[in-house]
Every structure is written in structure tokens, then in C-alpha cells.
Amino acid sequence: MSTATASVAGGRPTRVRRPASRHTLTKGSALGLGVNMIWFSLLVLIPLTAVVWTAGEDGFGTFTDALTNKQTFNALKLTVLSSLGVTAVNIVMGTIIAWVLVRDRFPGKKLIDLVIDIPFAMPTIVAGLVLLSLYGAESPLGLEWNNTRKAVFLALAFVTVPFVVRTVQPVLEEMDTDVEDAAASLGASRATTFRRIVLPTLAPAIFAGATLSFARAISEYGSLVLLSGNLPNRTEVASVRVYSSIEGGNPQSAAAVATILLLIALVAIVVFDLIQRRLARRG
């Protein structure tokens, strides 16, 4: 009964997705919200708070210790630089792949569509195994990139393949080619059309995908375990560093590195959003 009154109160004639049409909480839904929030807090909010809390318990000392530790610093540096590199590759390759999938037509296109989803369906540890087969010791190409920084880059590129493609693809599908035709008929070159018309439209999707792929890359662990060898100062990434601190019975320094990782992810989200807004405005 109470739901009915709430909906009648909100049900005005021109109600197309306006907040007013939504119900305020009823008794039942308030209970539901409470239960959901308790679970969400117990599972996500309180544990993540515990990480930041544990790291900051003794002031900034834990952070300076973590950052002045050469091995930790190198791990963070490698993680951030490779993630940035992989994200740049994804921005370019992901957009091109989406472009080819939407605008081009050739036999075998379906297969490409399928291949892109493989990294999503694959457990991360298996991703490492898979890459070892071509780039490891028994490589048919004789590459033997395992235990090198190239392997770190490869693993990150592998697990982040779908992000930009899958965010750009639907936007490209929805996009009208009329505007491009108009630009072309008015004498704009292909490059200009792409830069002034296509890119600004795609920018939000590209950077949404880039943000996801960066966040995924800096936090990657599973695919690197077998592939990168986790050599201190050479191929050890931040997640591996956190793991060895936990195993070594030093949760506080693990929490410090984890907090730094969370901060980097946060900064990245803000920066990518700013770039995206700037690009989108250029249209």
C-alpha cells in the first residue's frame, strides 16, 4: 500500500526519467538498503578503510619508508610506467580495432570479435601460461622474453586488450556517418574529419576504456606470476611487492604500498577524465 501512495505522489504526466518519479524509501526498501549496506560495508568499505588506516597509523613514516625502499620504489616505477605505456598502446590499438570491427567488412571479422573476448574469459594465471607458450623458454620464435620487462608489458597488454575496444565499439556503431559526409563534402580532408568530427565523439569512450585498462594494469598480479619471474628491481611489480610483504608478516608495509596503488588509481581516473573533457570540447 505504501508503495502505491509513493508512486502516485511521483506519478505526474510528463515524467520521463526525472528524479521526482523515483520512490522515496518505503519500509521494505529501507530494510533492503540497510541489509545491502551492511554487507557492502563488511565486504568492501571496512576492509579497504583498514588498508588505508593501517598504512597511516604511524603517520607518514610508513609511506616514506616504503618509498625510500629501493626495491619498492622500483616496483612502483615499473608498474606505473608499464601501465602508462600499455594504456597508450590500448588507446591507439583499441580505437583502431573498434574502427575496423565497425566500419570495415572482411571475412574473418567475427573471429577477431571472438579473439578480443579471450582475455576476459581467461583466468589471469592461465593468461600467463598462454603467453609463456609463445614468449617463454620453449618459444617457437626463439624469443625467450620470460623474466624480462618485455614480459611485464606483454602480460599487461594481453589482459587489457578488450577494454578500449569494447567501450568504443558501441559508440562508433551509434554514430551517424552523415556528419562525416558533410565534412568531406565541404572539403575537409580525411585527417581533418577524423580529428575534428570522429575523435571528439569517441573521446569519452576511448578515455573511459583507457581508465579501465590503466586501473587493471597497475593492479595486475596473476598473469605476471609465472611470466615475469618477479626479479627484485627488474621485473617485480607493485602487487607482487604487496604480496611478499604479506607473506613476510609485514602487513603495515603491504598496506602502505597498497594505499599508494589506490592513490595512483584515483589520480589516474581524475587525469583521464580531464583529458577526455578537453578532447571532447574540441569538437
Binding site: V44, L48, A50, I246
Partner: protein
């Protein structure tokens, strides 16, 4: 006429077209296609022998069972939580809603290792915030199944919600209001109106969660500790077997894990009605178009 012209503009010159095609095919072939094909070939090098051997190994069967159990629990929890949370986020107004909706995506940006660390800091029996009390009551979370289920639930948490929310928004609540005004109670409205509308989004979210849960490695490894055998899940076993030079077994278990995920995805692709394909994606795109 207009359409043929637009494809010309859309694709670019033939030379550029070929360069782009080659670039895409080459990149995906070397990064994903070839390595994946190689691993499948190596798995089946001795026919199905690797599988017979693997399934005869009690460690393997135990790990597979454990992974399946944990994934099942995690998926059910995320299904209930996900649908409930989506309804609350889309259909109701309450203070802090925007913050909550942003926080829901948080697990996607957190490293699996950090997820494990976070749970350990709270539920560890020795120094955990709640862990000590729970331990005093004989409840063990870390180094046991509850912790592993929590870790798996954590990493897969946003998947159902991300699929369901756009569809719920797209659907609007006209029909629900109609049902209400005709005297249906909240429960009837949910079963008869809301659920059929979001059915495919829920199924897709569940399948994605299933795939993610079966394969979770880092977070589970941290909370499971090194208690040999008892808490070893299938992905962790893959690592152990590979490092023990039992590569064929590692390949066989990997293949089974990937096959399970792929079968789930294929079933959904087949079940899903044609016009609702990519429901989530197009719905979001449509929404973006509607109010940019």
C-alpha cells in the same frame, strides 16, 4: 546512394584500409591468437591423456570442486546483492546515492592482492579488527572457505550491477506503476514485471561473475594462505603444478577453467534473443545519446 558514399568516407582509402586490417590482425594474432592456439595444441599433444591423468589426481579433483563451490556461493551472493542494489540505485531516492553508486565500481580498480590484504586486515584471527572476536566465537574466516568466498565475491561484485542498472534505467517504471495502481503488491510487481524485463541483463551478469569467480587467483591466494591442499583452488593449483614441472596437468586444468568460462558465454549467446543482443551496451549508448 548516400549509404554507399558514407561507407567510403567511413573506411578511408583502400591502402589505409589494408594497413589497418593488417595492423589489427597482426596485433591480435601475436598477442592473443597464436599463444592461445599454441597452448591448446600443447594440452592435446598426447591426446586426452593429460585430462585422464589430471582427473585421476586427487589434488586436481579437490581443487576443481573447491573452485566450483566457492564460485557458486560468490555468484549467488552477488546475484542477490546485485539485483537488490540495482533496484535501490535506480528506483529509489536516498541520501548518499551518488557516492554509493561510485563506490560500487571500486572493486574493479583494486588489485586482487589488495583485496586479499584488506580482508586479512579485518578478519585475521590474530590482529584483525573483527577477526579476534570472530575467532573467539570459533568462526574462522581467513585461511578458510568463508574468506575465500568473500574475496571472490569482492572482485566480482560490480559485474551484475553494471549489467542490470542500464537496463532498469532504460525500462522506466511505467509498467511497475501500472501494476501497483492495479493492486499488485511489491513482490508481485517484481516477479511479474521487473524481473522479466531485466532477465537477460541478470543472466549476463551472472555468467560474467561465474567466469570471473572461477578464475580468481590473487585475492583467493592471499586469504587462503599456504595450507597445502585444503585451500588450494584450481587457479592456484595451476601455478603449483606448473612450478613443479607437471606442465601437462597445469595445461589440462587451465583448459578446463577456460572451457567452463567459454561454455557459459556461448550458452548465453545462444539463449539470448537476437534483438536483445548486446543489450547492456546498446542500452547505455542509447542513454548517452538521449541525454549527453
Amino acid at each position: 546512394m548516400a549509404s554507399s558514399q558514407s561507407t567510403v568516407v567511413g573506411v578511408g582509402s583502400p591502402a589505409l584500409k589494408w594497413v589497418l586490417r593488417l595492423l589489427v590482425v597482426g596485433y591480435l594474432f601475436f598477442l592473443v591468437g597464436w599463444p592461445s592456439a599454441l597452448i591448446v595444441r600443447r594440452t592435446f599433444e598426447g591426446g586426452t591423456q593429460a585430462f585422464t591423468d589430471a582427473l585421476g589426481d586427487p589434488d586436481v579433483t579437490h581443487a576443481l570442486q573447491l573452485s566450483a563451490t566457492i564460485a557458486l556461493f560468490a555468484v549467488v551472493i552477488n546475484l542477490l546483492f546485485g539485483v537488490g542494489m540495482s533496484l535501490l540505485l535506480v528506483r529509489y531516492e536516498f541520501p548518499g546515492k551518488r557516492v554509493l553508486s561510485a563506490l560500487i565500481d571500486l572493486p574493479l580498480a583494486v588489485s586482487p592482492i589488495v583485496v586479499g590484504l584488506a580482508l586479512i586486515l579485518v578478519y585475521n584471527p590474530r590482529y584483525g579488527w573483527f577477526g579476534q572476536t570472530l575467532d573467539a566465537h570459533g568462526i574462522q574466516v581467513i585461511f578458510a572457505k568463508p574468506g575465500m568466498i568473500m574475496a571472490t565475491t569482492f572482485v566480482a561484485l560490480p559485474l551484475v550491477i553494471r549489467e542490470v542498472v542500464p537496463v532498469l534505467e532504460d525500462m522506466g517504471n511505467d509498467q511497475e506503476q501500472a501494476a501497483n495502481s492495479l493492486g499488485a503488491n511489491a513482490w508481485q510487481t517484481f516477479w511479474r514485471i521487473t524481473l522479466p524485463g531485466i532477465k537477460w541483463a541478470v543472466v549476463y551478469g551472472v555468467v560474467l561473475s561465474m567466469a570471473r569467480s572461477l578464475g580468481e587467483f590473487g585475492a583467493v591466494k592471499v586469504v587462503a594462505g599456504n595450507i597445502s591442499g585444503e585451500t588450494t583452488t584450481a587457479p592456484v593449483l595451476v601455478q603449483q603444478k606448473y612450478q613443479n614441472f607437471e606442465q601437462q596437468t597445469a595445461y589440462a586444468v587451465s583448459f578446463m577453467l577456460v572451457a567452463a568460462a567459454v561454455v557459459c558465454l556461448i550458452i548465453v549467446a545462444l539463449l539470448r534473443p537476437k534483438d536483445e543482443k548486446k543489450g547492456g551496451a546498446t542500452a547505455t549508448a542509447a542513454l548517452k545519446k538521449e541525454n549527453p
